[in-house]
């Protein structure tokens, strides 16, 4: 019986010679779990190391200069003054203005895509155009804004009696708005498509027009998901660096009005990190850490709401 068993085997490792034994250890099915665990551990380690590095360096600033120092309003590294409030304020301000500008456009585009019944060439071109908008690198947006948008803003500033910088908070917000529209459209388009056509047809069968169905049925049902899309877009805008750096004007103070030049956290780091050392550098790192935490919270919030919304639909 014993012998019969062995002969019946495929021949794969039935006689365990040392060579076969080693061969079996290195077989793909045995190596794969090991490799997967190794890579997983490495990725986890990178993420952990990432957080620890940021945290440790930020603590360094707290130890050397005192964490209260970052909560001041003057930024003058030469005098060891590291007030970060203007940058935090500008970051939030620019992002919120950008989001505000983007809302009507995002809404119309996503409704347009979700409700457009004929899937013709125009529709395809339109969809592709949106995807391509999101594929343009940030630095190219910045470059374009610097040469095309700023002259317009300059004209506007002259007409309104402001100094014609061209660059500033509004310019940055405009280019940011253009950049986040495709992103939030991507999310709300998906959510709107989840609203079942049955329920919309129920609306039409009661004699409602498209406007009424959208306003009374579709939008209320998809509201949560669309809001999540806006929150996630805000998270994106907060951390956006290159385009903002190129058109915000690099000025280290609170913006006095919409046209003033200023700096966001990201653009401040981009402008100064290479020349910074000592406390100046760790102040920038601390601000980076803050930016990271803010975007993390916003993204978590958006993610949770989005998941809930998709679950409900």
């Amino acid at each position: 019986m014993e012998k019969v068993k062995k002969i019946s085997v495929t021949g794969e490792g039935d006689i365990l010679s040392p060579f076969n034994y080693i061969k079996r250890i290195f077989e793909f099915r045995n190596v794969l779990p090991f490799l997967a665990n190794l890579s997983g551990a490495l990725v986890a380690l990178i993420i952990l190391g990432f957080l620890l590095t940021l945290g440790a360096k930020s603590l360094e600033f707290a130890k050397n200069a005192g964490v209260a120092n970052i909560l001041r309003t003057t930024w003058n590294p030469i005098a060891e003054e590291f007030g970060g409030l203007p940058f935090i304020a500008t970051t939030v301000l620019v992002s919120i203005i950008a989001l505000g500008i983007s809302v009507p456009f995002t809404l119309s585009v996503s409704i347009f895509i979700a409700e457009w019944k004929r899937k013709n060439m125009f529709f395809d071109v339109f969809n592709t155009a949106l995807d391509l908008l999101s594929a343009i690198p940030s630095v190219v947006y910045g470059f374009w804004a610097l040469f095309v948008l700023t002259p317009f803003i300059r004209i506007l500033q002259l007409k309104l009696g402001y100094p014609p910088y061209g660059v500033g908070v509004l310019t940055a917000a405009l280019v940011l708005a253009i950049m986040i529209i495709p992103f939030s459209v991507g999310i709300s388009r998906e959510v709107l498509k989840l609203v079942s056509s049955d329920i919309k047809e129920a609306g039409f069968s009661l004699g409602a027009t498209e406007f009424e169905v959208t306003r009374v049925v579709t939008l209320p049902l998809a509201k949560q998901g669309i809001i999540a899309g806006f929150i996630l877009a805000l998270g994106r805008a907060l951390g956006e660096t290159m385009a903002v750096t190129m058109v915000i004007g690099n000025f280290n103070a609170f913006p006095k009005n919409l046209f003033s030049p200023s700096n966001t956290i990201a653009s401040l780091i981009a402008n100064q990190f290479n020349e910074a050392w000592g406390n100046h550098q760790s102040a920038l790192i601390l601000l980076g850490f803050l930016l990271f935490l803010i975007t993390l919270i916003i993204n978590l919030l958006g993610g949770v709401i989005l998941r809930g919304a998709k679950h409900e639909l």
């Binding site: 077989e27 793909f28 099915r29 045995n30 794969l32 997967a36 665990n37 190794l38 890579s39 997983g40 551990a41 490495l42 990725v43 990178i46 993420i47 952990l48 990432f50 590095t53 940021l54 456009f105 119309s108 585009v109 409704i111 347009f112 339109f126 592709t128 155009a129 949106l130 995807d131 391509l132 594929a135 690198p137 940030s138 630095v139 190219v140 910045g142 470059f143 374009w144 610097l146 040469f147 095309v148 459209v185 498209e210 009424e212 959208t214 998270g235 951390g239 956006e240 660096t241 190129m246 990201a266 990190f273 290479n274 920038l284 790192i285 980076g288 850490f289 990271f292 975007t295 993390l296």
Partner: protein, 276 residues
């Protein structure tokens, strides 16, 4: 409200909707037209054969093109094995505590601002060595790619119906054979599209490179030394006061956009072809 008013409102609503929608893609058309107009005049033999030169001398973008290719390739080589294997870990060994941790952590850092990645890579690989390097640049780009690639791999593999896996095992294949010949090929379109999307994002990325790859006016193939990329060239030249440099930057932007669009279109085609 009578029927006619309601219909008028509906018509106005539709017109507003269409106008706003079309208005949204206008920037794309503007950007493209502007780029084509200025970029094409800059694309000539010089831009692909000459390296950066001081103002007044005819220069090109050869060093940046080479740099973008090297940095992106290196980033892909670092990121893809790590991400694909980690994705397999998450989808295939859900009981594993590491896989649970990873699934959450990866989602947490996927929206992280790229400039912050630049800072950390600088602290890890530039400050201790005392020199900017292309390697540090590509590692920062790899860190940018990893979270999304892990998620897209894990999600595609989780979507494979249980029956497909069982069919393979019922034919007498072992787990390794099933993985190599069924699970990975079936999820390949998802993995590849995740990869291409990632490449499209990092190829034009600038922020994390400011403090890592730094930029280099000379043609350098040494990954332990600073290197220029198209995105760094655009940033530096755009902020310069020289017309000639602006022209080269437009050319570089056109090349970069062409690259990004091609990757984007290929990845969407790939998904479409494989899923139908």
């Amino acid at each position: 409200m009578n029927y006619r008013t309601r219909r008028t409102i509906n018509r106005v609503y539709k017109i507003v909707l269409y106008c706003l929608s079309i208005f949204t893609v206008l920037p794309l058309i503007f950007i493209l037209l502007y780029l084509l107009k200025l970029g094409f005049s800059a694309i000539n033999f010089d831009i692909i054969t000459k390296v950066s030169r001081p103002v007044g001398e005819p220069g090109g973008a050869l060093n940046s093109i080479v740099g973008t290719i090297i940095l992106s390739t290196l980033a892909v080589l670092i990121a893809s094995p790590l991400s694909i294997l980690s994705g397999i870990l998450i989808s295939e060994y859900p009981q594993n505590p590491l896989s649970k941790i990873l699934e959450i952590w990866v989602k947490l850092i996927s929206g992280i601002p790229s400039i912050v990645i630049g800072i950390v890579t600088y602290l890890w690989l530039v400050k201790p060595v005392g020199r900017y390097s292309a390697l540090a640049g590509s590692i920062s780009l790899a860190i940018m790619m990893i979270p999304n690639m892990v998620t897209s791999t894990a999600e595609t593999m989780k979507m494979i119906p249980k029956e497909i896996r069982e069919a393979s095992l019922a034919l007498g294949a072992n787990y390794g054979q099933t993985m190599l010949k069924i699970l990975i090929p079936v999820s390949l379109p998802g993995i590849i599209s995740g990869l291409l999307t990632g490449v499209g994002r990092i190829a034009g990325e600038t922020a994390p490179l400011l403090f890592t790859a730094f930029g280099n006016p000379y043609l350098s193939l040494n990954i332990l030394k600073p290197m220029n990329t198209l995105s760094l060239l655009i940033y530096n030249y755009a902020l310069s006061p020289y017309k000639e440099w602006h022209r080269i930057a437009w050319g570089a932007a056109l090349i970069l956009i062409f690259l990004a669009f091609t990757l984007n279109i290929i990845s969407r085609r790939a998904i479409k072809r494989w899923t139908t």
